[in-house]
Symmetry: C2
Subunit: 426 residues, 2 copies
């Protein structure tokens, strides 16, 4: 059995996970797949003091990989989009295939990297960039290759899903849940890119490229995070037999592609409602396959290493080159045709803080009715000590712009005592 | 773009689905994957009168495929293991790759077919043989290639899952649910191979080969069907916050592999409990990936066609040949080391029909206790008009043989008035 030389760039959580899997299971993987992975170099800044990298050379110079003729595949396991991009280009130009877990890099610079890879007759693979250990890229690219993808609805960020799960199960506020996530290592010290939806958006852009063959400029994505979700919102959702999840959604409509990231009410009987804690879930509807759900751990050393190494094996077997060379979406992404937010079609939830006087409910329902928005369910709680009442409702699917205009009018006309709270509902 | 010639053998539900997908989406698939699929022949007995097979030649002679030099891939979409095997061998010997949905064929004759394929430098692919449109073969083989698979727990037969769902939701008996399944086309006129677990066992054998690298002789599989599941069993399961599902299970233990098909109590908080109706679900635990769930439609014309065509594209791109040539489990399956039923380790459920007299519960618990079986929960209903009581319990995991011996002793000692009912519990 021939050995396949590999080099790791970035010896953090994921790099450490890859080394752990190879330490334990190199022989098992070789027996199973016919691919014997020989780790020859680990490039890392700062250079770690670890003495156990399976006999590989440990250093900080990328030449350890680019100038080693025995290394066929570079595992690019660092974050960011500047230094990481330079390293990626250096490897591709040296004729090394690149396997990466860096979603921001692929989302922001995929076009350029894929073109350079093609020039140098090597492949770029990135299963680990989306949904950790869940083989969702392979499923969309290969398993569902004969389908037109009709929609993708994903919980793609374990940090935010953990926070929302804590808020729901413990009735905590956002800050308390975030602190707990940080304490347990599910959220970083600076959680901004997770909680504001950016990380989820990167993943949605990558999935959309594979599913719909389009390039998605990140600037074109509408992104809402979870920072403003309150304990009251969670309680409202529960009353309406729903949970709030941060969803990435891509839906093909006759008029174009709906694409956004937003906290959304997910009814309890939808399969994604059961995706808890730090798990990820991707719900895909294919024209032939029908609806499918994929769930699993979306981050962490070993799940991500599982995805990285599946790509490494795919490359080592020569499979990735064929995919990469043949599939249109790597090199000829179609121009995107996105729907504006106003033109999206969605069911919605709104909570109105209302004064306790006659005619309020009639006023609200009249404004919705004029725009052709029909109400699916409605809930009015007891009036509180301050004479405030709360009216909550869920609509049937309607044009999103019409709903938002209606709510704006409701607020403007003085039917509410505070700005209304709105969410999409799945 | 080069055309890839394909031929279909068997123009039933699945063959029709493949033609439907090609009719609608041939150009889309070509643009996406770089593979333009040219259907050149449809071989079917009886020869259908349909005039629309996309211009392909329609006939009953396999030579339409084996002797057409333009056809690279034969889609073997007939059932059974005798005639289908001859057709498969004829195609392989003619140098055609074979893509098949026939699970019985692969389960029974995989070794021989893989060997002949290897001699003739072609591949056999069978994503459609398990779980219909769910790309579970690809996920296990490629996506989780770097994992030792620790367990597979699957709902792999849509017919039985539909029947069990109807029994649960409508409180029907088995016969009424079966009739409804037949009326709706989810069950065949002769449903034997579905309801007795044979179809599920074929699929378990195939998944086990890929996941554990072993050959599974069908004779080595313990198979229980759903024919004896009663409305009372369903009600008991519900009371214990569980549902009864027909599960295929493969669990790697230090001492060997546990492998069986059996109706099993699935707690409501387990992801497989939410796999309803005719859906399939596969719950896989990998050493690196952790737990993952895949769900979707496990049968039907279009979902199965989705899987068939994903294999066809994999073959056409040259990817399947590399997998087939390199992966150990196709050509060097390991000798299996199965655990005997008595040595399986499982939580269990039992329902005892007991006379209403003192000492019964003490007797039952004493017999379990002596064998080291500890009770997780217990339920005793009201005594009925005939003086019969019912005691139900769920145990913590224990050696299966010890539990069955205990129940046999309980029945033998006259503590019950009818043979006790037992199920595994997940």
């Amino acid at each position: 059995m021939a050995q396949v030389g590999i080099g790791i760039i970035g010896f953090g959580v994921v790099g450490g996970g890859v080394v752990d899997v190879l330490r334990r299971d190199r022989a098992t993987i070789a027996a199973r797949t016919g691919v014997d992975l020989d780790l020859r170099a680990v490039v890392s800044m700062p250079p770690y003091q670890s003495t156990d990298v399976l006999g590989a050379t440990l250093g900080k110079d990328i030449a350890l990989i680019t100038q080693d003729a025995q290394i066929r595949i570079a595992l690019l396991l660092v974050g960011g989009t500047t230094f990481a991009k330079d390293l990626c280009l250096a490897c591709l130009k040296a004729g090394k295939h690149v396997v990466t877990s860096n979603k921001a890099l692929i989302a922001a610079h995929g076009d350029e990297l894929f073109a350079v890879a093609k020039e140098n007759k090597v492949a770029v693979a990135f299963e680990a960039a989306v949904a950790g250990g869940i083989p969702i890229i392979g499923a969309l690219r290969d398993g569902l290759a004969a389908n037109r993808i009709e929609s993708i609805t994903g919980i793609l960020n374990g940090t935010t899903n953990f926070i929302l799960t804590m808020m729901e199960q413990k009735q905590w506020g956002y800050q308390q849940a975030l602190s707990e996530a940080q304490r347990l290592g599910y959220a970083e010290a600076d959680p901004t890119l997770d909680v504001n939806g950016t990380d989820t958006a990167h993943k949605l852009a990558i999935l959309s490229r594979i599913a719909f063959g389009i390039r998605v400029p990140l600037s074109a994505l509408r992104i809402e995070g979870i920072q403003n979700v309150t304990a009251q919102d969670m309680a409202s959702a529960a009353r309406l037999k729903s949970r709030i999840k941060l969803l990435a959604m891509a839906t093909q409509r006759p008029e174009g592609l709906e694409l956004h990231v937003a906290p959304t009410l997910v009814p309890l009987d939808h399969p994604l409602a059961a995706v808890h804690m730090n798990y990820n879930g991707v719900f895909v509807v294919g024209s032939a396959s029908g609806p499918q759900l994929f769930t699993g751990q979306g981050a962490g050393a070993l799940p991500t290493a599982s995805a990285v190494l599946s790509d490494v094996i795919d490359v080592a077997l020569g499979r990735a080159e064929q995919t990469f060379g043949s599939y249109g979406f790597f090199n000829q992404p179609k121009p995107p045709a996105f729907l504006a937010e106003a033109d999206e079609r969605t069911a919605s939830y709104a909570r109105f803080a209302t004064p306790d006087k006659p005619g309020i409910l009639a006023g609200i329902t009249q404004i919705l009715s004029v725009r052709g928005i029909s109400i699916r369910s409605i809930y009015q709680g007891e009036t509180d000590d301050q004479g405030q009442a709360s009216i909550e409702l869920v609509t049937h699917p309607a044009r999103g712009g019409d709903f938002l205009e209606a709510v704006a009018e409701i607020d403007r006309k003085g039917l509410t005592t505070a700005p209304s709270v709105c969410y999409r509902r799945l």
